[in-house]
């Protein structure tokens, strides 16, 4: 029992570790901003399952890149973008989108597993792509992450209003001349980039905890188009940075910490949201 505890939480030499893992903490904060903002539209466009599909293809791309000795970041991005484009182009309606995602997902996972089993390098690289890692973030990797994140955040801010219109109210948006189809594809590409960036840190299997859970939690307690993105971003940053800080001295991967924090935030928001809804009903009645 004590062994388990010290494997999970070990805060000895914390200060030194903190300095060593500064990059990871920065990466976590940047990713939190991306995940929190993108997640809002993942929720309002009902893309949670698509995110999961894209992340498996991103994993396949990263695994292939590892095998062939090219950049893992680039591989993850290529895999993500290909998946996002396919899902965006073929899956206009939710039902089609789900089936296409379900077809792509196991294929990507299989491909990734194949590449990893052929790979003879360090084993921690392999496992990290699926379940996340914090130690492997060197300066160039952090730089790549920052560039990708900047593209996503700036791109998202530019299309924010029409995308919100097209997501909430597609028929009227189209009638008012909002390019609904183009925005949908544009968002899928940004989503692809966001997934590729997230896979680096939390791993392919747990991307949803950054790109869906924080936004889902925020939507439980607010419907304001200003409050929801802010809360969602705060939740995502807290999950990631908090997870990294807790995981620092531990010998297990970072992802269980991140996913647990983001899950707990969701549970709290759900409970709080239920009470708020009850109060609102009483006020209106």
């Amino acid at each position: 029992m004590n062994d388990w505890w010290s494997a999970l939480f070990d805060f000895s030499d914390y200060g030194e570790l903190l300095a060593l893992l500064q990059n990871s903490i920065l990466a976590g904060a940047v990713l939190g901003i991306v995940g929190g903002l993108v997640g809002v539209f993942v929720m309002s466009r009902d893309l949670a399952f698509a995110v999961h599909g894209i992340s498996e293809l991103s994993f396949a791309g990263a695994a292939a890149a590892l095998l062939f000795g090219i950049g893992v970041v680039e591989g993850a991005i290529v895999g993500s973008i290909v998946a996002a484009a396919i899902i965006g182009l073929l899956g206009v309606r939710a039902r089609e989108r789900n089936s296409i995602t379900a077809v792509l997902m196991p294929f990507g996972l299989g491909l990734g597993i194949l590449c990893l089993s052929l790979y003879t390098g360090r084993a921690s690289n392999k496992f990290g792509l699926l379940t996340g890692q914090i130690v492997a973030i060197d300066d160039p990797r952090l730089g790549a992450l920052a560039i990708v994140s900047a593209i996503v955040v700036i791109g998202l801010l530019v299309i924010w209003r029409p995308l919100a219109f097209a997501s909430a109210d597609p028929e009227v948006a189209a009638a008012r001349g909002v390019p609904v189809r183009g925005l949908s594809l544009g968002f899928m590409l940004l989503l692809g980039l966001a997934v590729a960036a997230s896979v680096q840190i939390v791993g392919a299997l747990l991307v949803l905890s950054i790109l869906v859970t924080p936004a889902a939690a925020a939507l439980r307690i607010s419907s304001s188009p200003i409050v929801v993105p802010i809360l969602s971003t705060v939740f995502a940053v807290v999950s990631l940075v908090g997870g990294i800080l807790l995981a620092l001295g531990a010998s297990v991967p970072i992802s269980p910490y991140v996913t647990t924090i983001s899950f707990l935030i969701y549970v709290v928001c759900r409970l709080a949201g239920r009470r708020a809804a009850k109060r609102a009903r009483m006020v209106r009645a």
């Binding site: 809002v40 929720m43 309002s44 009902d46 801010l157 530019v158 299309i159 924010w160 209003r161 029409p162 919100a164 219109f165 997501s167 909430a168 109210d169 028929e171 009227v172 948006a173 189209a174 009638a175 008012r176 001349g177 909002v178 889902a216 939507l219 607010s222 419907s223 304001s224 188009p225 200003i226 929801v228 993105p229 809804a277 609102a280 009903r281 209106r284």
Partner: protein, 268 residues
């Protein structure tokens, strides 16, 4: 009347998947005029609205809005769709729905401003929706949502309002409220209304003219001119009975377009 029409169609024809929905359609909608578009399922009522919105080009003939050829995204055309409950993953309160009508088409994140808030407040007030401005739209009734839709459509000061079954799945009281609101604003602001509906009764005492689409053809006129057994029987080329009772119109025996089953379009 000497007013220039806001919408004008000449010999207009629309095909959908190689099938002619209607052809030879001449229609003028005048400022402030309320025109109902009736017809069976599949007669091309909604497609007419899509054509006016520039989303579905006419296959023949000509369409003009305020004298200019029909085009996509003209925000002087307002649009009110069928009420459909959004799911609760959407971040949208009453005032946000109206706000989308104000500037939802613009690029950028759209930071809140006092001017914008004032405009939204005025629109909410105009449709009597101020008291639920901050309630999430998912918790609003169909009638409440449709009021907001009207406010949303009024945001760009439209010259023409297109309504696609805005009353369906509303209760009788809400139907009346929504109809009254559209009627009031078209009189005050002088915009034309093209109102697609499967049931003319909720708006019967408000419409100026009726466009009845059937069998690739059409009839236009006042409700009394068009909603008659002989007129509709001729249009459908089969016996149709129009029964008037207690101020309501009931159309019996109108077949659906391209449906084999015998459907009686009886208004509820």
């Amino acid at each position: 009347m000497s007013l220039a029409p806001v919408l004008s169609l000449r010999s207009a024809e629309l095909t959908l998947g190689g099938r002619v929905l209607w052809s030879g359609l001449d229609l003028d909608v005048l400022p402030g005029e309320f025109v109902a578009v009736l017809g069976s399922n599949g007669s091309g009522k909604t497609s007419l609205l899509n054509a006016v919105l520039g989303q579905h080009p006419l296959s023949a003939g000509e369409g003009r809005f305020l004298g200019e050829p029909l085009r996509r995204g003209d925000r002087r055309i307002g649009y009110i769709p069928q009420h459909r409950l959004p799911d609760d993953t959407v971040m949208l309160r009453g005032r946000d729905l109206v706000g989308l009508g104000v500037d939802g088409h613009r690029w950028g994140p759209g930071l809140p401003s006092r001017e914008r808030a004032k405009q939204i407040d005025e629109l909410l007030d105009a449709v009597g929706a101020s008291h639920y401005a901050r309630v999430p739209v998912t918790r609003l009734s169909g009638g409440e949502q449709q009021r907001l839709r009207i406010g949303q459509a009024l945001a760009t000061d439209p010259q023409l309002l297109l309504c696609d079954e805005p009353l369906s799945s509303l209760d009788l009281h809400a139907q009346r409220v929504v109809t009254d609101l559209i009627d009031k604003h078209r009189r005050e602001r002088g915009f034309g209304v093209l109102f697609v509906t499967h049931d003319v009764n909720p708006i019967l005492d408000r419409v100026d003219r009726v466009l009845y689409l059937a069998n690739h053809e059409f009839r236009i006129g006042t409700p009394d001119e068009v909603l008659r057994s002989e007129v509709l029987s001729e249009l459908y080329r089969s016996p149709v009975d129009v029964i008037r009772a207690a101020g309501r119109v009931i159309i019996v025996g109108a077949p659906d377009e391209h449906h084999t089953h015998d459907h009686h379009a009886v208004a509820p």
